[in-house]
Symmetry: none
């Protein structure tokens, strides 16, 4: 699922990009309206996250231009209290909006709701190698075995690892993504969660084949 993130604020753009990448989406970024439209043309993303307040071509103009040629879901970012912006955004065909500041989790929730409404939800469950995740059902299948039920946190952890399958994900990132903001000294939670997840998905939890430790760095999911 390709997504286009348009925001002139570099930090926010990167944050959103990071969030979506972690969630398993393919992300493209644009810093201004012109670049946004160019990228939109060449990449045809499946969803657009669009800031309103931008120098040059404003979010409105970009939204209008996009709507002239596509019904792709558009989420607009507004600052709190600018009711008029909001109305205008909806008028121009935006599908949803988010007032800054917002949490990454909120953004994800909205995006998912939007994709669902647009009938574009992941047709194939998130999968890599022998690991197939069913987000709706809260289950994983390893190879052809029976689906295993996961808890909310286990699901989130596995989702993160799956989104970066084959690559190490640092403990800090995992902590932030799974629990939201949290003291990075709180490694015990992650230790525990990894342990519990291994009990569920590893043939022999004592010698992990899938969820391996990258000492001093984090964890990674092995896919062949």
């Amino acid at each position: 699922m390709k997504m286009l993130v348009v925001d002139d604020d570099r930090d926010l753009r990167e944050l959103i990009g990071f969030t979506l990448t972690q969630a398993g989406y393919l992300v493209m970024k644009a810093a201004d309206g012109l670049a946004a439209l160019r990228t939109f043309e060449s990449e045809s993303p499946d969803l657009v996250v669009l800031d309103i307040n931008m120098p040059g071509a404003s979010g409105f103009q970009v939204c209008e231009a996009i709507r002239k040629r596509s019904r792709v879901p558009v989420i607009m970012l507004t600052v709190r209290g600018e009711e008029e912006d909001l109305v205008r955004a909806l008028e121009l065909g935006a599908d949803d909006y988010l007032t800054k500041p917002f949490s990454p989790r909120t953004l994800l929730a909205r995006i998912k709701a939007l994709l669902r409404r647009a009938g574009m939800e992941n047709p194939t469950p998130l999968a890599a190698g022998r690991v197939a995740l069913d987000i709706d059902e809260h289950t994983v299948r390893i190879g052809n075995s029976d689906p295993v039920r996961l808890t909310k946190l286990e699901l989130r952890l596995l989702q993160m690892l799956l989104a970066n399958a084959g690559h190490t994900v640092s403990s800090d990132r995992l902590l932030i993504q799974v629990w939201g903001h949290r003291n990075s000294a709180d490694r015990q939670l992650l230790k525990q969660l990894v342990h519990r997840l291994r009990q569920k998905i590893e043939a022999d939890p004592a010698t992990p084949q899938l969820l391996q430790t990258a000492a001093g760095a984090g964890y990674k999911l092995i896919v062949d």
Copy 2:
């Protein structure tokens, strides 16, 4: 899609009516609160546009009365600067508001956003597997058994599950769809409603075959 427009200002009422008719909606009108409630009763519109400043029963009273019997989306019209009205309208359960003057396009944008939020953009299928829902009669048939009468909330819940038959629907989504926006801490209501619905549609409510729990995720309707 039936809509009720309530405003004592004849011109504005006609303008709104015209706008909505042009947009393809079926429009009913009322010039005062009393007529509004009468029409609401007899016609059960799918959305209400309601002016606050009216002689006789004010928009507030009408809104309150409507909310006592329905979760139908309500948009209230206020004059600019009357913040108190606005707050009170939202407290009374209005779903959105518009400050006069506004453009027809703004009104349409808001209405569409509201319908989308209420998940009313398209009709839902009435049957899947052994479950057949009769929306008008407020009844279900399971297989060839006698129809069972459902309450308003039970109907809405089942409708939602039926629309996603075979897939888990999250508790949050059910809460929003059945009750409108509601504190997600209010799981008790859902618990209750599921329980009562199971009593009605399950052969053995203690071991549900149709309405199953997806622990930590939500509920789903099993269709073979």
